[in-house]
């Protein structure tokens, strides 16, 4: 009981902190578009470091050879480790390079209601897209990650579309060959 209480205080704290940031960004930037971009950028910066934390604590994670494995690891290990949820992977396209993440619960938006002026345009949890993009880039995979639905905006479900773009090649730093 003690540990559970601690964890839920921590995650509530995180939810509230994220909410405050979202609020202040909204007020400062005015346009939802800008806020969305800002959240994505923040997520990206978090993601490029978060991947190291993830890899250090998941030594069994090996190089994925299929994009399907990547999706699986993101949900079952990544999301679980950092947000305590396990999204579902859905709606693969024919080429198997695009899928949807269905979030049945979202700890970030636990206490949130979107005001009418941004209820159609703000992707409240856009930080998650940035995190996925940043983390995958550090393991040489370029992806596009966007929200396609959010229960905060009245959709039936909260969904993120992840599309594989390309493998990033290893390159020597400039000045060496």
């Amino acid at each position: 009981v003690g540990t559970e209480a601690v964890v839920s205080t921590q995650s509530t704290g995180f939810t509230l902190t994220y909410g405050l940031y979202g609020c202040s960004a909204s007020q400062r930037l005015r346009q939802s578009d800008e806020v969305n971009k800002q959240l994505d950028k923040m997520g990206y910066n978090i993601g490029v470091r978060m991947i190291e934390d993830f890899l250090a604590h998941t030594p069994s994670a090996k190089r994925c050879t299929q994009f399907e494995e990547v999706a699986d690891v993101i949900c079952k290990q990544g999301f679980r480790m950092f947000l305590g949820i396990v999204p579902e992977v859905r709606n693969w396209n024919a080429a198997k390079d695009e899928f949807t993440l269905l979030l049945t619960e979202n700890p970030l938006s636990e206490f949130v209601e979107l005001p009418p002026n941004c209820a159609d345009s703000l992707w409240y949890s856009n930080i998650i897209c940035g995190v996925i993009r940043g983390a995958l880039e550090m393991i040489q995979m370029e992806v596009k990650c966007t929200f396609i639905g959010d229960t905060l905006r009245g959709s039936d479900s909260t969904e993120i579309r992840v599309k594989f773009v390309k493998i990033l090649e290893d390159s020597l730093p400039a000045g060496e060959d």
Binding site: R49, I51, E52, D53, L55, A56, H57, P59, A61, K62, R63, M138, I139, Q140, D170, L172, P173, E176
Partner: protein, 134 residues
């Protein structure tokens, strides 16, 4: 001597003295050599994916541990050290020192040489503890 390098790898000379070139030159040399070796090793290998672990001379063994995110940890040890021991040490170094004190420090630019005294001292403590346990 503890040293860290701009491409996110850290080189540690645990026992003997320093080499007679500047740290910068040494880093470039080591990095270039490891890059070539990695490429060579995987091309020659009969397996589909293989990676370079270490080389030994009469006097030392240089081992490398690379994470899937491209972070390389390089350590020189005595020749007798087993590859498993070194690999385990480097992985723990990654997990307990690099992730905790470098990655999680938002003030550190990981693309540049890491100057943080805290990070360096944590590495030293970690290595000294491990050496005593060997």
């Amino acid at each position: 001597v503890v040293s860290t390098q701009s491409t996110g790898s850290s080189g540690i000379n645990a026992e003997y003295g320093e080499t007679d070139m500047s740290q910068d030159e040494e880093f470039k040399l080591v990095y270039g050599m490891l890059y070539s070796l990695k490429s060579f090793v995987s091309r020659i290998s009969p397996a589909t994916s293989d990676s370079f672990q270490s080389y030994s001379t009469n006097n030392y063994k240089m081992s490398m541990y690379e994470t899937p995110s491209g972070c390389k940890f390089v350590m020189n040890t005595a020749v007798e050290w087993s590859p498993q021991a070194v690999s385990e040490i480097l992985h723990s170094l990654y997990k307990e020192v690099y992730v905790e004190f470098a990655v999680k420090n938002p003030l550190l630019n990981l693309q540049e040489t890491i100057e943080s005294e805290l990070f360096k001292s944590k590495i030293e403590t970690f290595i000294n503890t491990r050496i005593r346990e060997m």
